[in-house]
Symmetry: C2
């Protein structure tokens, strides 16, 4: 397969590329640090990326910014930023992508455990993650030409917790999280929220 | 209690008012057909409404527009409309409301069964409903002064199905749905997604 990986240089993205690259051709995309770039907040940038990438059999997205802050400090702009980036960025990656991918292709986007298990500071992110899961359940019903759509909802990733100098013992290694993306890309399910586990 | 009901003239809103008005003082709000009005898509309109309403002990919202259409026909504007109205309208009703309600007050907003059980045409609504549920789970953790936040996720309502000339046999009467709002307002739970059942 030819697989477009958006967010290929991030912690999860690198692990997904590592897990898929032995058997598949990877087209790596990031915001700035790959030959092919995309700004998920700008629909025209997504269209340009697809045109430049050519036909692919799978799209994986492990990108999309959102803001973590106490609810009383989250501004209208913070919410709009989260909606434009992690939420509608990935929604548009799917909507626009329908016209660019091969028959039977798959989309795998990324939400996160805060959708279901919120914490102080996660109000905008919990909204975005849960909303994306709701979109995927619905969009899978209407995907044309045998196209599948799933979302992976990762827990805290060990490497991320280490980078943040937080206790990594509750984390799951990125290489384990990556298995859920491989399952989505190489399997047959659609409309699923896939929760990685050890 | 003094209870602000937004969407008081709709199918669910009327049933909520009927269920609560014997024991409580209702401040009825709608977009156009009550003395006190609000446009949920405009944060300043929400602030004006709270100032005009005075202190309340509970806020119920059974309002918020969203658009139902095949995914291929939902435009960028349709998604933005849904985000601005049913999603951020209710999010802002809570965020702005924190500064206006009494200690220990409750907020009860409305999502819907399409969050979990999508159908063709529901992509934007499923996103909005699920996102609102994610927000409520998180916002409840940070609500100040003992304030509670819940969301009711109604199934299809019998009266709505009848109005749409659809088979009402799978619907739940508005008066039954209203019991979930009463449970949220008069109970002690917070952060819950309440699913009405017969």
């Amino acid at each position: 397969m030819r697989i477009l990986v958006v967010g290929a240089t991030g912690t999860i993205g690198r692990a997904v590329v590592a897990a898929l690259s032995a058997d598949h051709e990877i087209v790596a995309v990031s915001r700035r640090s790959t030959p092919l770039t995309v700004d998920l907040a700008v629909p025209a940038s997504i269209s340009d990326m697809y045109r430049a990438a050519g036909k692919v059999n799978a799209v994986v997205c492990a990108a999309g910014e959102a803001r973590f802050a106490p609810l009383a400090q989250l501004s209208d702009d913070d919410f709009q930023f989260c909606l434009n980036n992690k939420l509608m960025g990935q929604v548009n990656l799917v909507r626009i992508g329908f016209d660019h991918v091969a028959d039977g292709a798959s989309f795998t986007v990324t939400s996160g455990i805060l959708a279901r298990s919120p914490m102080t500071g996660s109000a905008a992110i919990s909204l975005v993650n849960a909303g994306l899961e709701g979109f995927v359940r619905a969009a899978a019903l209407e995907a044309p030409r045998g196209i599948r759509v799933n979302v992976v909802s990762p827990p805290w990733v060990t490497e991320t917790l280490q980078a943040l100098k937080m206790d990594p013992s509750h984390g799951l290694p990125a290489a384990v999280v990556a298995r859920s993306y491989v399952r989505s890309v190489t399997g047959t399910e659609t409309g699923s929220t896939i929760e990685p586990s050890a």
